[in-house]
Each structure stands twice: as C-alpha cells, then as structure tokens.
C-alpha cells in the first residue's frame, strides 16, 4: 500500500535526535508490548511477521506519525489479535477504561501478474527496472524506486513473498536481489556526488532492463 510507513525520501522532516546512553526500553510497558508480539507470532501462532508489518502500515497516518515506536508495534499486535478473533475490541476498551485505537482494515489483495520462477532470473551485474506497481495490500517495494533502473549487486536467497504472506495467504519463496541505484537517478535534486542506494527487492518486483 502507498502508506505513511513508506517514508524513504519524504521531505519536511527535521533533525535526527540521538539520545546518549539510551535504554533498550524506556518504560516497562514497552518491554511487555515487545514480548506480546513474540507471543502472538511464536506461541499463539495467530499471525506471521509479514502480517504484523502490514498491520502497522494500516494505522491511521496521523496516529502512525504521532505514536512512539512501541505504540506502533503494540497497535499492530492488538489489531491482529482482534482481527483474528483472539480478543474483541469491546473487551479491550472495557479493560483499558477508554478508547483503543486499532489499524484500519486491510484491502483485499489481488496479486495477479506476478511470475514466480523457482530459479534466479537475474545475476550480479544485470540491469533491471523496478515494476511501477501500486498494490493496495502489503508490499515491500518502496515508492522511491518504482520505475527506476538499477544494477544487481547481490543475489539473496529465496524468501517468502511478502505481498501474499502479509495477508496470511500461502506464499511461495522467490529470490530477492540487492539492486543499486545512483542517487541522481532517484532524486532530481541529488548532487552529482558518488552516492548510491541499495534496495533489497523480490524477483516479482523486477523486470529486465531493455
């Protein structure tokens, strides 16, 4: 989905604030929220990590930007446990004594037109073009590389295709590729300096460059 989570290259953000000696968790609830996700995935097996990522992406955009990292994390977990029928929103609101914001519903997915050959279609040094696709469901192809031409610098192993797994659907495994893009091909205002960006892209996101 073309969501608020897909932040790469967005303008308007200010300085990065680094906290010296930062603790792993700032508040006790953060540690418990962290562990609740591992409970949902590994113990309850109620959902997978791709569905978790998608649940966070589906947060209301204003809530997403205002929330701390572990509030986003927790909202994804709570959303999935409600959607999977493990708990009800009514019970959560009653127990919390107030509103319980969850993510928006998922779009139905129609991942058509994706080819999934078992073998690696590309090799190191191949020029590729990222398909200019806009799936309404989960995807891991960032907006800033869609339609862009790059070069394969590494062939990664085969991994579950997230556009299907993110919806709890049976997902095949296919190779991913580390594709390098010159910054000046991504951003019209980039200096002509020697900067590149490497993005890890599944085979179905790519076409051979003509």
């Amino acid at each position: 989905m073309d969501g608020i989570h897909d932040l790469g290259g967005m303008n308007g953000f200010g300085p990065v604030e680094v906290e010296r000696g930062e603790p792993v968790f700032h508040e006790p609830w953060q540690a418990r929220a962290f562990a609740l996700n591992l409970l949902g995935i590994r113990v309850l097996k109620a959902y997978n990590v791709h569905e978790y990522r998608h649940a966070v992406e589906r947060m209301d955009p204003a809530h997403y930007l205002a929330a701390s990292y572990y509030e986003r994390w927790f909202t994804g977990v709570a959303t999935l446990l409600v959607e999977k029928g493990v708990v009800t929103r009514h019970e959560l609101e009653a127990r919390a004594g107030g509103g319980f914001p969850l993510s928006r519903p998922s779009a139905s997915v129609q991942p058509g037109g994706l080819s999934q050959p078992e073998a690696a279609r590309f090799a190191v040094g191949d020029a590729v073009v990222v398909r200019d696709i806009h799936p309404r469901g989960h995807t891991r192809v960032p907006r800033y590389v869609r339609g862009k031409r790059g070069v394969v610098v590494r062939v990664a192993p085969r991994f579950e295709f997230p556009d299907l797994a993110g919806h709890g659907l049976r997902a095949h495994r296919e190779h991913a590729y580390h594709v390098e893009f010159p910054a000046r091909d991504l951003w019209s205002d980039a200096a002509a300096g020697r900067e590149t960006v490497i993005v890890d892209l599944w085979q179905s996101y790519l076409e051979a460059a003509s």
Binding site: H5, D6, L7, G8, G9, M10, N11, G12, F13, P15, V16, E17, V18, E19, E22, V24, F25, W29, A31, R32, F34, A35, L36, L39, V43, D60, H63, L65, S68, F74, A78, L81, V86, V87, L92, R95, A96, G97, G98, G99, F100, L102, R104, P105, R140, V141, P142, Y144, R154, A156, A176, H178, A190, G193, E195, T196, V197, I198, V199, D200
Partner: protein
C-alpha cells in the same frame, strides 16, 4: 473506525498494553513468565556488544574477516550469535574510499543478534525519510563529515537481508587485544552514522 473520529478518547498506552495482557491471560494464552523472560532475554542476549566482538575479531584475524564478508550469517554464528530475524546477514566493509550506512525506510528491521534492538533515532521518521535522500547532509548533522572523494552507499533493509557495517579500524590501535578493540566499537559505527576515533600516541598500550 478512524482513530481521530473514534468517539472515546484513547486510554493511555500503558493501560492499553495491560488490557491486552489481561484479556489474553483470562483465556490462559500467556505462558507463566513468558513476557518477563522474553524481555529479559532480549536485553541480555541481543546486544550491540555482540557486533563489536565480531568487528574486533575481523580486524585482527584476516581469515575470519574473509569468512565474515563471504557469509555473515555463518561467521557470526561461529561466535554464538544467532537470531530468527537475521537469518541472512550481510556485512558491509568500509574502505578508505567507501562509506556504508544502513536504514529500514519502511519499518525498522535490524540485525538484532549483532546490533541489538535498534535505538529510537534509527526508528524515527526523520532518519528513515532523510538518509536515503540526503545521506551526506544528514550524516554531517549527526557529526560525521564524509569527504567528497569517499563514496556513500545507503542500504535500505526492504527485504529479509539484515546488514551490519564493518567500520575502518582506527589508527593507533595496532597491537591492541581483540577484547580491547571490541570495547571501542560503537553501535553507531556498525550502522554507519559514526566513525571510530583514531588513538594517536597510544600505541601498544597493552
């Protein structure tokens, strides 16, 4: 169901977490001690000190360095570091003419086994939005001036690969023990937003 239009003001986040825990516990879905043990294990086992040991070993042992760059997953497992979310680890080697920096623009995927859980700044919209677009400017703001003749490669963790930067060994650390070297490797240097300080005049201090 938009949050902003939801009629009831949201309960504080700590109350929401407690509510979900209690709702699950009421159905006996939370094994005894699971939440506490998971949080404790995470903080004790998944630490940037692990990555620092990997870096130090690579600096002093050229055969290990070669194995680390060829197969990061297997090489860090030699030191006992494994995590389910970093099953394919790629180590990025800095050189005098190349600086690597990593980010996850779409969420905050990180090689937990060697970097630990990521710090807040790494997960911030500011870092995720800006480092792919203006890396030199952002790094300079964070205190790292990368000379113009040094290329910058920004690695976006958009798939299942997890990355770690192998920073340059600082000058003046010749003859240092692996343990002492590990003590100067920072998480920021393994993400690529900081360079390790040289140690002039402190040669062979051990």
């Amino acid at each position: 169901m938009s949050d902003r239009r939801h009629p009831i003001p949201p309960a504080p986040i700590s109350e929401r977490v407690r509510a979900l825990e209690e709702a699950l516990a009421a159905q006996r879905l939370v094994p005894a001690g699971f939440l506490e043990d998971t949080a404790a294990h995470t903080q004790e086992e998944l630490r940037p000190e692990n990555g620092a040991r990997v870096v130090a070993k690579a600096w002093v042992d050229s055969a290990y360095r070669a194995r680390l760059l060829a197969d990061g997953t297997a090489a860090v497992a030699e030191l006992g570091f494994r995590a389910p979310n970093s099953e394919f680890l790629v180590v990025l080697e800095d050189t005098p003419t190349l600086h690597n920096v990593i980010v996850c623009t779409q969420c905050s995927c990180t090689a937990w086994s060697v970097l630990g859980l990521p710090p807040d700044w790494y997960k911030s919209p500011e870092y995720r939005a800006r480092v792919v677009r203006e890396p030199r400017t952002l790094l300079a703001e964070m205190g790292l001036e990368v000379p113009e003749d040094v290329a910058v490669r920004v690695w976006d963790t958009s798939g299942e690969t997890r990355y770690m930067v192998l920073p340059l060994r600082p000058a003046g650390t010749e003859g240092w023990s692996e343990e002492r070297l590990a003590g100067i490797v920072t998480r920021e240097s393994m993400i690529g937003v900081a360079r390790l300080c040289d140690h002039p005049g402190r040669r062979n201090a051990e």
